[in-house]
């Protein structure tokens, strides 16, 4: 896609719009925030439905327990907080009160990856997928662009059970057309190819597509797969594509240990153990810097992804 024609969406605004629409459709949808209700992905909901917005302050353990309690009363709570606080601070509430009970709680992890990297490593979460993926009953969405964020919100509401949605702060280039239909649990091939399978999610889908363009210029025809549902993982698309290409690389703005790379490897090692490269953050806490600086520093720019994959292909 040429930059000139590109449309960029703010994931938080898209999600906020979807939440209001969900609130209109279903009076049981409520919104829970932890001192993050303004300017976040539920920003419009509290204005439109003030009686269905519950602010619980900087107290995420309580907020997650409250979300579970509301869900026992047939409410559909969407609970939002900065990623470290909603994924880690209240992890046991997520595990015991939400996942073990299979309650209808939708967890919005705001500012995933390097979204707010200038705030430092406390706020730069690169482990949420690793941790949340281990929880039974939890569906995990990691959308890549505006249309996918929008539909993921509706899909989350329709699922009868807990859903964790990773929401990025950086504006996302629109990759899907209006007629796009998001299907939970299904990956999608964004570019067909035969030489290597590139699998990514969230912010890294756009960079991977750009890297694939560069690869094509170097004579490598890569297949690009968007795995926006990390759990349950679409093992069919991984196995079908890898059977065709014989090589796989994953690209994620996340720790490769337990992240998307780990998830894909778990599928491949059982059924089709092809050579694999995991591109992402290799088990460290991030340095401080602006988003683009960190993307470059950790090798996640399209150019760096291209170089990594060329190295990988030259090795195997």
């Amino acid at each position: 896609m040429s930059e000139n024609n590109a449309i960029f969406d703010d994931p938080r605004k898209v999600f906020a719009k979807a939440l209001v629409e969900l609130g209109e459709i279903n009076p049981d949808v409520i919104y829970i925030s932890c001192d993050s209700s303004l300017g976040a992905s539920g920003a419009d909901f509290n204005k439109r439905f003030p009686s269905r917005h519950f602010e619980f302050g900087i107290a995420e353990q309580n907020a997650m327990g409250e979300a579970a309690g509301f869900a026992t009363c047939k409410k559909i709570p969407f609970i939002a907080a900065y990623m470290p606080f909603v994924a880690f601070r209240c992890f046991e509430q997520v595990r015991d009160d939400v996942c073990k009970t299979k309650l209808n709680v939708k967890i919005m992890g705001n500012n995933c990856g390097f979204s707010v990297s200038a705030l430092g490593a406390t706020h730069t979460v690169l482990e949420d997928v690793s941790v949340m993926r281990a929880l039974p009953n939890l569906t995990i969405f990691s959308p890549c662009d505006g249309p996918e964020y929008y539909q993921a919100a509706f899909a989350a509401a329709e699922i009868d059970g807990p859903v964790f949605i990773r929401i990025h702060r950086q504006k996302a280039i629109r990759l899907h057309n209006d007629d796009f239909k998001f299907t939970p649990g299904k990956g999608e091939i964004l570019k067909k190819g035969k030489d290597i399978t590139l699998i990514s999610c969230s912010s890294m889908v756009a960079n991977t597509l750009e890297a694939a363009e560069m690869l094509l210029g170097a004579g490598v025809d890569a297949e690009v797969v968007n795995l926006s549902t990390i759990k349950p993982l679409d093992s069919d698309i991984i196995l079908e594509s890898s059977a065709k290409t014989g090589r796989v690389a994953t690209v994620e703005e996340h720790n490769i240990k337990g992240g998307l790379g780990g998830a894909v490897a778990e599928v491949l090692v059982k059924s089709n153990p092809v050579k694999m490269k995991m591109i992402g953050i290799n088990d460290l806490f991030a340095v401080v810097g602006e988003y683009d600086e960190l993307i470059e520093y950790y090798g996640l720019s399209p150019e760096k992804i291209f170089e990594s994959i060329m190295d990988f292909l030259n090795t195997f």
Binding site: G65, E66, F70, T72, C73, Q93, D96
Partner: protein, 286 residues
């Protein structure tokens, strides 16, 4: 103020001791948290027999009052009372300790009618209870939510997050009952981690509070009958209790927080509990 009759007192006493006997029978199969079960049992007996609006034949009745046992390890008491109330067949009690029993060492709502929410990890019940109370407000319903906590449990930060939240939202259909038996796994709560003064702390968080003797049926009943103590405030009852109440050799000893009784000693323990019952029955109406 509504008061208990002598017949009510006798009925409650007999039921609570019958439940103690049943708990000991369950413990023929396996160890259990007898200390907290026996300290909370009298209050749970009053709740289900005299306070809660509930229907054992329709456990999901939307208008029911809810009881959340935040200190989930006290569940032997809840199981015995629920069985007596007819939520499930008493035979289920005797499966305690067996593979895939429905009466596990911590309560599971998917296994057993009458369990509102699964608990076990401490500090989880009050946040859940508060949301259920807020949901009543959203749905224009008048049910009340009673959460029972342990005093040791009050060391969990999430208890105070929820306490702050209920004070903030002025949730007066929420009642927290603290079973203050003064003991926890490693000893006295004053030595392990003092949560005192509990009443003042809840008051400071915007609650209306009362202190009672958690084994005095009349006090328990009259206190629970009078909630909310203040309109626009959640109610907290700090109930002074005796760990392992009714089993004299174990009363007030932290070593009986969790007890593995030799199966051949159970009958002896039952005799001791029945002796305690007889003594208390003699005093009814005096």
């Amino acid at each position: 103020m509504s008061r208990l009759s002598a017949d009510d007192l006798k009925m409650l006493l007999e039921k609570s001791y019958m439940c103690r006997e049943n708990i000991l029978k369950m413990m023929r199969n396996a160890e259990g948290h007898i200390g907290g079960a026996f300290s909370s049992l009298d209050m749970i007996t009053v709740l289900y027999n005299k306070i809660l609006r509930h229907d054992p034949k329709n456990p999901k009745w939307p208008q029911r009052d809810r009881f959340i046992l935040s200190a989930g390890h006290k569940c032997l008491a809840l199981y015995a009372v629920l069985a007596d109330q007819g939520y499930f067949d008493e035979e289920i009690l005797w499966t305690y300790g067996q593979f895939m029993t429905k009466v596990a060492m911590h309560p599971e709502e998917k296994l057993l009618a009458g369990i509102e929410f699964p608990t076990g990890s401490l500090g989880h019940g009050l946040p859940v209870a508060h949301a259920i109370a807020l949901a009543a407000r959203l749905d224009n319903m008048d049910y009340r939510v009673f959460a029972m906590l342990g005093d040791g449990e009050c060391a969990e930060g999430s208890v105070w997050e929820a306490a702050m939240s209920a004070g903030h939202y002025k949730t007066d259909n929420l009642v927290a009952i603290i079973d203050k038996n003064g003991l926890q796994v490693n000893g006295s709560t004053y030595d392990v981690m003092s949560s005192a003064p509990l009443q003042d702390k809840f008051k400071a968080f915007g609650w209306s509070t009362a202190v009672i003797d958690g084994h005095d049926f009349s006090q328990v009943y009259e206190c629970l009958e009078s909630v909310p103590f203040e309109k626009g405030k959640p109610s907290c009852i700090v109930a002074n209790t005796t760990k392992c109440k009714g089993l004299d050799f174990a009363e007030g000893k932290f070593q009986y927080h969790h007890w593995h009784c030799e199966p051949d000693k159970i009958d002896e323990a039952i005799d001791i509990v029945n002796l305690a019952k007889s003594k208390e029955l003699e005093n009814v109406g005096k």
